[in-house]
């Protein structure tokens, strides 16, 4: 039942320069990761962008393994990776490990975080965690139609200002907001939009002292690491993957991306 390339059948997209590539991705310019809580319409967004039809029912945790697909927008090819839906990225469960390791070690060019507008507060918990790892993110404020029905109004400009990343209101089921989402994915990937992500303010003094001290040491050893604070926090939680990455030197491969044209060629050859 795998619909490889159903572009002929799928509804005509109003954005002429979007080309859905299904899973026919051999080479690509950018990698986009899709993160979000379970049941926020992550798969719907994925299907909208790629033209694929991922059907595994309306169950949480339905994306058991990473699903991949692709699309082309403004002559750039994007590979999109659907991460497992999780409430958090901090626990030892397999789902959360997959998601967190991909965002950290996979170094996606853009991480799109799908957020349920009717439950903004609890969804922001995951957003803030992702923003600790990466500074290239777009928040997709999904289920806006439902929020409207429930008399919830969200000012996406304030949200964007507070989070320091683009926020796109959307109703993925109605395919609303997909154009803006594509535009921001493109802009963040190209470096036209530079994010200044919100970083957590530690409530506990001892905790913030410990994190600061450790991250200072990490930053000294890895001056190019974009997320020393996150690495420090993971070390303090005893994350073996990070310990191993330090021991093996893999952590040194995570670097801040230079926002020049040249990097794209580099990406392609990887």
């Amino acid at each position: 039942m795998s619909a490889l390339n159903e572009c002929e059948n799928c509804p005509v997209h109003n954005l002429a320069n979007l080309k859905k590539l299904g899973i026919n991705m051999s080479e690509y310019d950018f990698v986009v990761a899709l993160a979000g809580n379970p049941n926020t319409g992550k798969s719907t967004v994925f299907n909208n962008l790629t033209g694929l039809r991922q059907h595994t029912g309306n169950w949480p945790g339905k994306t058991v393994t990473r699903a991949e697909g692709g699309f082309e927008f403004n002559d750039k090819k994007f590979k999109i990776v659907d991460l497992p839906g999780t409430y958090s990225l901090l626990s030892t469960s397999t789902d959360e490990e997959v998601a967190r390791d991909f965002i950290l070690f996979g170094q996606p060019d853009v991480t799109v975080i799908i957020v349920d507008a009717t439950r903004l507060e609890r969804n922001l918990n995951l957003v803030l965690q992702v923003l600790e790892i990466t500074d290239r993110a777009v928040v997709c404020l999904n289920l806006m139609d439902e929020a409207k029905r429930n008399n919830i109004e969200i000012d996406d400009r304030i949200l964007s200002r507070e989070l320091g990343v683009p926020v796109v209101p959307a109703s993925a089921r109605q395919k609303d907001g997909m154009n803006e989402l594509l535009k921001y994915i493109h802009d963040v990937a190209n470096g036209n939009y530079i994010c200044k992500p919100h970083r957590i303010t530690a409530k506990n003094k001892e905790m913030s002292k410990a994190v600061n001290r450790l991250s200072a040491e990490i930053a000294k050893e890895y001056p190019n690491l974009p997320n020393a604070r996150w690495v420090a926090m993971r070390l303090l939680e005893g994350d073996q993957k990070i310990i191993d990455a330090i021991k093996s030197g893999d952590l040194g491969n995570i670097t801040r991306r230079e926002l020049t044209e040249g990097t794209e060629d580099y990406k392609m050859s990887v």
């Binding site: 409430y87 958090s88 901090l90 626990s91 469960s93 507060e121 609890r122 073996q240």
Partner: protein, 343 residues
Amino acid sequence: MVDPVNALMVFGFIVIGLTALFITQKKIVNNIRRTQNDKMKMHVEDALKHIYDCEYKNMGCTLHSIAGNLSISSDKAAKVIAKLESLKLIMNDPDKIKLTDEGRKYALQVIRIHRIWETYLADETSKDELEWHDDAELMEHTISSEEADRLAASIGNPLRDPHGDPIPSETGDIPELEGQQLNTLDEGDTARIVHLEDEPAAVYKNLVSQGLHVGMDITVNKRDKEEVLFESEGVSRSIPPVYAANVTVVKFEASIKPESYKKLSNLKIGEKGKVIGISKACRGQQRRRLMDLGIVPGTVVSAEMVSSGGDPVAYLIRGATIALRKSQSEKIYIEERLSEVSN
């Protein structure tokens, strides 16, 4: 045709036989697996642990204490000591039993496996706390240190076991013992439980049945020869001073009384409360799950509805309706009811 009565009888015998086999299976398998050599290894490792424990607590260690701790005869204990000496795990000193560096390293390795396994059981499985210790006693001789390292990594490299004992690092580093015994606290003192001794089992069982756990904050109300009376998590508890000696606590510098505790499970439908914290008895995945759901200090929770069966109860937590079982809501502490919601 087979006579049905005979058939049933034969069947009955088979069932009895299989049950008997199943019950004794552990013993048989152990006996088959454990050659004399393995038994010696077990004794050696247990003796090392005991000697290490004596040194850690600054207590003398004798042939008799080894025999007692391992439940073996003195003759056997003498053999074990001879073996330890021949392996150069203890000093060759007839007056005092003392570990060599090699012996200490070995002992710490065994202790490390034991404590990792206990933590694993406490955090990731539904085994009862009274089973942790015995299970770990078996596993410490069975799994390799590499396996233990992998297990530790998979549960986030824990630092302490569920009884509050520090887990030696891969290189055998272990921090100093801290705190004081509960029976040395004065009336009015406020402290946090940092360790519960799990041996002897009978005492530990009593402490567990009193609801004590590591991480619990207590205030001593009364202390005399008969009992230590203290309050914790909103409940008044009393234990004999002998038992209290098996509880290690760290005193709070400022004598602040722990906040008044009320359990979330006591909240009536329509009432609201503010979360103070989750009991430390709730560990591992269970604890992380509750926090992922938004149950952190400061969260306002209101009880929404009871299910047809009476348990679980649904609560409104940060914009979502979430059902919690009584066993969970009992472990969540809240502050006074803020206001009554109409209807």
